[in-house]
Assembly symmetry: C2
Homo-oligomer: 633 residues x 2
């Protein structure tokens, strides 16, 4: 028989206890070999489980047919097993729903939601030495595709029905379209909060980042990894739950939960894991007080989120809408416009496209609130950067290279994160805010009139640090609303609020709340500014900080309750002093991280907003927070 040390070291493969566990008919289980001893073992295990009210890891030995129980402790459960055990124990009356909810690590729900590689295929790949590298598991799930190095080429290939893995040293906002079209994203650099990781989680893409073994050669369009050469077009597979990079193509399976909820290829009663998921979510929904919204920019994300129980959109970014297809050119015309008149002309081209985007989202979300953020990134993100690209774009736009180059130069910033972005754009170029407000209200009026949908848009002004910024932008939004409602002869209830994402916003929340009907904490930027640390640059010292124990955790992953959280508390307090019914939420990445969700509960937020597949995780965390508050642990 296998002895403990050997099993742990992986030298011996343990033998099965009972018939159910047998992997092949050749194996002989304890149940078959020593039925008496097996029965005795089964009995003691039940006693122990009942006593400790938890699944037990029982160590035992059998000497000359006699059973000795050596040790017992609460079992380490991974994935599905843990969930099944918790639900089973409720069914068996061993624990109640609350206790079941408390026993699950919210992140374990990922196992129910993400696609996985076919286990046999993966084992085969491992045996053949095709698992060639390991990076950080930044977007759970599993996928295969052709290697493509240039985001611009991803769409061409996917348009032809190809599956593509985008492989980059690192990604940047210009790559969004390629990232969105790709099946998966693999980068050589960057941590769990790098651009690639954040966008992938937001998009629900399989993603492995910081895979430092990759030597990417853009020029020759190939990459080398531990002595193996992978050319553009070769198939690779990435497992975003483990970080593994595998040569060749592997079959995947969607999670059963999504097969039931979204694909509808399985019936609820056909899937055990769906039933577990469903029960857990029912219980969580009964306990939690926090509402859970989704960060979604596209109708299909919104649909997925609704299937997973989203109660609204907490963050609909509008900038992604400007990158797609022809729009980027209208956007660029707007940027190089010399005066408000030609800027308005360019914006007029964008208006109908943006209006259709909003209509599509409103149709999915129906009467649920949809929080739309006005344009946020600095304008230089929409312009080309290399001389080659500038030349290309200039020709396409019918302007000279020098003119475009000069514009690119003039928009360059020393610290773009702290630059001309957020509401600072809408203040300098009120035409932009006006166009966006018009697109939102026209879309709302049209779906109401044409389809009878009562939408609830909430317009969110980003990066506000001074009440006058919000007053300025709010005035534009209100004016446009009035004008559009008069034109359509119909009214749509709407709110205007702000992101609280820079310290001064939190510190002067009492003033800002006079102009804001809601606050939404943008904890990504709030963490950057509160720490004075750029997320793009933290990699240079993060390792030393963690190794030396200066930080217990990465504040970009888990909310820093002491510093950032203190500002949040202050803002909630000051805001509600002025406006008792102020709605307050969070739409930073932390909104889907369990410990951060619990903190949000504790300071009285109304909702958290996160990427679609993290909704169940946030719900569970919210339920746990409510249960903990009631003192039942």
């Amino acid at each position: 028989n296998a002895q403990g040390e050997d099993v742990v070291a992986g030298i011996r493969t343990p033998q099965p206890i009972n018939r159910r566990q047998k992997a092949s008919p050749q194996e002989v289980s304890l149940e078959e070999a020593m039925p008496e001893v097996y029965k005795e073992l089964e009995h003691y295990c039940k006693v122990l489980e009942r006593h400790f009210r938890d699944m037990q890891d029982v160590e035992f030995t059998i000497q000359r047919g006699k059973l000795f129980i050596l040790q017992t402790r609460s079992g380490k459960r991974t994935g599905l097993a843990a969930l099944r055990i918790a639900v089973d124990m409720v069914t068996e009356g061993l624990i109640d729903e609350e206790e079941a909810l408390m026993r699950i690590e919210p992140e374990q729900l990922n196992q129910l939601l993400r696609p996985v590689f076919d286990p046999e295929e993966k084992e085969k790949a491992r045996k053949e030495g095709r698992v060639v590298a390991k990076g950080l598991p930044a977007g759970p799930g599993a996928t295969s595709g052709h290697v493509v190095f240039f985001p611009s080429e991803v769409e061409e290939r996917t348009a032809k029905g190809e599956e593509v893995i985008l492989v980059r040293v690192e990604t940047s906002p210009e790559d969004i379209r390629g990232m969105s079209a790709a099946q998966g994203i693999l980068t050589a650099r960057g941590g769990m909060t790098s651009h690639a990781a954040l966008v992938a989680r937001q998009m629900g893409k399989v993603c492995v980042v910081g895979c430092e073994a990759l030597r990417i050669d853009y020029k020759n369009r190939h990459l080398e990894v531990n002595g193996r050469l992978i050319r553009e077009g070769d198939y690779i597979s990435i497992d975003g739950s483990t970080g593994e990079v595998i040569l060749g193509k592997l079959k995947t399976r969607p999670s059963e939960v999504l097969e039931v909820l979204v694909e509808k290829r399985l019936k609820p009663e056909e899937s055990q894991s769906y039933q577990i998921y469903h029960k857990l979510m029912q219980w969580a929904d009964r306990k939690r007080k926090l509402r859970v919204r989704v960060n979604a920019d596209r109708p299909e994300q919104a649909s997925l989120a609704l299937a997973l129980g989203a109660e609204g959109i907490g963050l609909c970014r509008t900038e992604h809408m400007f990158f797609e297809g022809e729009r980027i050119y209208a956007m660029r015309e707007m940027i190089i416009a010399q005066d408000p008149e030609s800027r308005r002309e360019a914006l007029d081209k964008l208006l109908p496209m943006q209006r259709e985007d909003f209509k599509a989202i409103f149709r999915v979300m129906r009467d649920l609130p949809v929080t739309i953020r006005t344009l946020d990134p600095p304008l230089h993100e929409f312009l080309p950067h290399s001389d080659d690209e500038i030349a290309q774009v200039a020709e396409r736009m019918g302007i000279s290279f020098d003119e475009l180059k000069a514009k690119v130069e003039s928009l360059r910033e020393a610290n773009p994160m702290l630059g001309h972005r957020g509401c600072r754009l809408g203040i300098v170029y009120p035409e932009i805010t006006r166009m966006q407000a018009r697109a939102i209200f026209e879309a709302a009026c049209e779906v109401k009139l044409e389809e009878g949908i009562e939408v609830h848009p909430e317009i969110m002004i980003p990066l506000v640090g001074h009440v006058e910024e919000l007053r300025d932008q709010r005035r534009i939004v209100d004016e446009v609303a009035k004008e559009v409602f008069a034109r359509y002869g119909v009214e749509v209830p709407y709110k205007v609020g702000t992101m609280i994402e820079i310290p001064r916003g939190a510190l002067t929340a009492d003033e800002i709340a006079q102009q804001a009907e809601f606050f939404s904490f943008g904890t990504n930027d709030l963490t950057q500014t509160t720490y004075g640390i750029s997320r793009d640059d933290v990699g240079k010292f993060l390792r030393a900080y963690v190794e030396k124990g200066i930080w217990d955790f990465d504040p970009f992953v888990k909310l820093d309750t002491k510093g950032v959280g203190q500002l949040m508390m202050l803002a909630v307090e000051k805001g509600r002093e002025v406006r008792a019914d102020l709605k307050v939420g969070i739409c930073g990445e932390h909104g889907g991280e369990p410990s951060s969700v619990k903190f949000c509960h504790s300071i009285g937020l109304d909702y958290v907003s996160c990427s679609p597949l993290r909704i169940p995780i946030a719900k569970l965390a919210a339920a746990q927070a409510a249960i903990e508050e009631n003192g039942k642990k």
Copy 2:
């Protein structure tokens, strides 16, 4: 005689009242022309002045030898006159010292401190007709330089060591960097509160505004003034205390106050303005509670500051010490070092140089506290950037272009302001902090042993946002101190403290105070992070913010008491809860701005620290704050 309207419009030049005012013997004064009326006028003026307890602007008319007093009001005083009047009125017993102090705008002290043109040279220029125009005296002082019309070109020229006068029709926030680099600023339009005037005063730049005689032709890069053509690159001189614009270059002399205090070319009794200055400072010193320190990195700055009454150094930046001469090469060796060993070797070359720097400063400051900040800027600031420079430096360092280029690339940051700098450097490279601590303590021990000076170094760790950062750096400093004291057989009292310059530092001040013996607010960075605004990029939207009334003032010039100030208050409170005797100061540029100094007084700071020539201004503001607090206004 000149009538009111004509005088104001500048059409008639008024005639002198008495002999003293006569500009030339040809003029006839009232005193000479109508001695009776003059005596009568003198009498009533005294009565009025005594009654209103302030200098009066008296409007009168004389009809057929009879004096009519038409109107009287408190006089508008500029510069030296205001100071003299205030001091005189104390001497005459009309007002007391406090009232005199309260009547002076602290910025007016600039009149006493800024350089003037050599009187002989100026007289010569006048005779030669080179005084070609007169504008408003917006930034006191006198300077000469090459005419440059475009702010972007100012930096290029000053980088080559040229003196430059920036000449514009008017200035706007985008021009800030050019204005900062120029010796002086001259504009054709704008009043005493125009952008150019405000910025120049804050920066301590010589400035003449509203010089309407200038006809500036940007396209042909020349200007015409009263028939004289001045081309770009020609020398001009501007007197910011009188508003005069003079062709050619003129020698300048330090102000009389500095001639007495620093140059010692004048005796106190020989200078009226020194006597005024001295009296005001005596009074201010008696009233103020805030101590005033200087931001100084070099012995000569420290000497100047001492002469102006500095009570210590509040900020001695050490990075300047790494740029000079050969040092930059040792610094670069340190940066490209592949391992701690070679990094230490490079640092060993810097150690003796840095130690000598500190000894020189300690010798000047003697027993006054000297706050030394450890290395702050990101390392890429020490490396070349263009390919040409990289090639040159690589050759000089005996490494390949590619190696150096790769290093430059690897250190590049998306947001340097939020990047790998401040204590984050010392944490990743503890050798740097160790070398700097060693240089400080060895210098302190040596001047003590060799020269009997009891120095008081205060080691300041920058950019702390988490107590563990400070604990880490403090441990190194304490270890080095112990080792050096043992080696020299002598001890030097020292303190270790931190800058509070990112919001998290302020928010967790209670934790940080456990490791810090003092705090110094770095309000430049604290303003950037609290607002989420990069000072280098704010130009892109500052104009719109000011025009639209979103900001009442530029928070980089005047402390934002509502947001940034709230964090400061919080930090003082939390810090002193933990450590009652915590010393707290400010070393950002706000430390020399009067309204900010008053705020610092109100929240209980121990000292402000500013550039040398702002020390008297800070002292006066501090005295006013103390007087205001006592309710005497």
